[in-house]
């Protein structure tokens, strides 16, 4: 590993030291340090209310940090917010397009605000609609768009002038798999053109697919950082899920599995199901053989990648909790 070398020699898209944001007594962001190299996709992974969006909003100049400092694309966040704004674009968690207007009007609006003449703004707007597969919906009110179309329009609006750094806040939350794949393709295409992407997500799968590096955030702190491979290695090679034919045999099965695997076995909410961490895949067949030898019948089993819950369980010792309700309505 040559992390130190990387951060010292490559130009950084974001360098942050000790960012803190308080909302009343609640420390939404509680001391975050970042060193994000240019030209990569960087993922913030964490449950709702972990502080991902708040951190992103600070880096996009929408919120002033209470403590700490940051440089975004070489500009000081506090001293040169306007210089930062010329280098970044933001696609917010709640679609940041105007749903009362139609697709092309939304893009013309942003292009005009960037300073383009009316004629060039129109040209650029239709060019982007075409590239993002929205040409047929150009004259349709955004209210009537599907979630995926809205997201694509939202990203297109951020691309009027391609930014050096794009903030994407939960780009695929609530999308169907096909729309999600389209967004993933867009992000991949974007990075090849040289834009650095910082995205937040609740899905390990998404971070795994897209992000070159991932920061796992919980309670306003980074609790782990690295490539997805490094994070998975820290969680173990996977999880064995077993569903029994007869729920009454679960206690015995739990004992047998933990003896065979040497790792703790969790009881799932399904009364017939259990799950256990695996040190290696070979252990799985041994564990299943142990069940068989004791006449415990298995209806299903699967070997899964660790889920976000499991990453959290390993990193924090407790499951990822949804803190949205606790934190109250965000405005």
């Amino acid at each position: 590993m040559n992390n130190d070398l990387d951060t010292h020699n490559q130009p950084l898209a974001i360098k942050a030291i000790g960012l803190v944001k308080r909302f009343g007594k609640h420390r939404a962001v509680d001391g975050i340090d970042l060193a994000i190299p240019q030209g990569i996709v960087y993922g913030f992974l964490g449950p709702n209310g972990a502080g991902k969006t708040t951190t992103m909003k600070m880096l996009a100049t929408l919120l002033k940090p209470d403590e700490g400092s940051a440089q975004v694309m070489g500009h000081d966040l506090l001293k040169e917010p306007d210089a930062v704004r010329t280098r970044v674009s933001l696609t917010g968690q709640f679609a940041s397009v105007d749903e009362d207007l139609n697709g092309i009007e939304n893009l013309i609006l942003i292009a005009r605000l960037m300073g383009y003449s009316s004629r060039i703004a129109k040209k650029r707007a239709s060019e982007l609609l075409d590239a993002f597969g929205l040409q047929d919906a150009a004259k349709r009110q955004v209210k009537k768009y599907s979630g995926g179309m809205r997201r694509r329009l939202d990203i297109a609006a951020s691309m009027i002038i391609r930014p050096d750094l794009l903030f994407l806040d939960e780009p695929t939350t609530g999308l169907d798999p096909r729309s999600r794949n389209q967004i993933w393709d867009i992000v991949r295409a974007l990075v090849t053109t040289g834009t650095t992407v910082l995205l937040t997500t609740q899905y390990l799968d998404e971070a795994d697919q897209l992000a070159d590096r991932i920061a796992v955030i919980d309670h306003g702190k980074i609790i782990a950082e690295g490539t997805s491979g490094e994070l998975k290695a820290s969680v173990g090679s996977g999880v064995l899920h077993v569903r029994l034919l007869d729920p009454s045999t679960r206690a015995q099965a739990q004992q047998l599995l933990s003896d065979a695997l040497g790792t703790p076995v969790r009881l799932s909410s399904d009364p017939a199901a259990l799950a256990a961490q695996l040190a290696g895949t070979k252990a799985a067949s041994k564990a299943l053989a142990a069940l068989d030898a004791n006449q415990i019948e298995v209806s299903e089993f699967s070997l899964g990648q660790p889920s976000l819950d499991e990453v959290f369980l390993t990193l924090t010792g407790k499951p990822a909790e949804n803190e949205e309700q606790k934190e109250g309505a965000k405005s």
């Binding site: 207007l101 009007e105 391609r162």
Partner: protein, 273 residues
């Protein structure tokens, strides 16, 4: 279209764009005004408050109270029309706060705030568009008044000056509602609080009645009310007797409103979560 073709198209659209010179605050404000006016095309109902309400108020006050208050409805019209113009436009300013609150809750403003533009321009643009709405309301009141029998003694220019004075005051007053719109959580709450504020301010004025018969303390309050001064100024302009003192007071009140409430609005806007 194949996957590769569409990807190639996407990459072509994402090549480095030449950045045009940064637009000034007036240009961006006007662009935001254009955005607000475009919405009327999609939601024409939002003109209801500037069309239906003025008509309703004028007819209601003229025919229900006019005879009793001024002896005859036609006499009351001469007194009422400048006042109802003030009342209509002042009430319309509430919608500035309501629509700002709606807009912000939808997340569109997050993008606006992250753009390299003069930061008050989304708000100033919205207020410019609202001024267009106030103008529509003013014209409706005056035209309806003329149809019903309002016969102003002032010249056309004086009548226009009266309308412009109302617009200046309304633009300034709107900044109070942008503050309320930014503080409260829902647009319903904005509506409720704003109406609660506006009712006493407009009714404890000389819009509907001459304050001469009021008890002394109330008369003093009514006369000090900027809405009364505006009404007197507009009556003067439309009646051909220009009331310079009141006009100057209205301009001072407008300047004070902007000086106090626009910085508060901007502070709240910049620090909105």
């Amino acid at each position: 279209m194949s996957e590769e073709q569409s990807m190639a198209k996407m990459r072509a659209a994402l090549v480095e764009q030449e950045r045009p010179p940064r637009p000034n605050g007036i240009a961006t404000s006007l662009t935001f005004a254009w955005r607000a006016l475009l919405k009327i095309k999609y939601v024409p109902e939002q003109l209801l408050d500037v069309t239906f309400f003025p008509v309703m108020f004028t007819l209601m006050f003229t025919y229900l109270f006019g005879g009793a208050l001024a002896g005859s409805t036609s006499q009351y019209l001469q007194f009422l029309i400048p006042g109802i113009l003030v009342q209509t436009v002042v009430f319309t300013t509430v919608y500035t706060g309501v629509s700002l609150n709606d807009d912000i809750s939808k997340g569109t403003f997050d993008r606006f705030r992250s753009l390299p533009i003069w930061s008050p321009s989304p708000l100033v643009g919205a207020l410019i568009a609202d001024t267009v709405r106030y103008t529509i309301a003013s014209i409706i009141v005056i035209v309806l008044g003329l149809i019903l029998g309002f016969r102003p003694a002032g010249t056309i220019l004086e009548i226009i000056a009266g309308i412009i004075l109302v617009l200046i005051f309304a633009f300034s007053l709107s900044w109070i509602f942008t503050v309320i719109g930014l503080i409260l959580q829902t647009s319903k709450a904005v509506m409720g609080i704003s109406m609660t504020l506006l009712f006493p301010v407009t009714f404890a004025s000389n819009i509907f009645v001459d304050p001469a018969t009021m008890p002394g303390w109330l008369r003093a309050t009514v006369n000090a009310n900027p809405v009364s001064m505006l009404t007197t100024a507009v009556r003067g302009l439309m009646g051909g007797r220009v009331a310079f003192t009141e006009i100057i007071w209205v301009l001072i009140a407008s300047a004070v409103l902007i000086l106090i409430f626009s910085p508060i609005t901007m502070y709240l806007y910049r620090n909105k979560r």
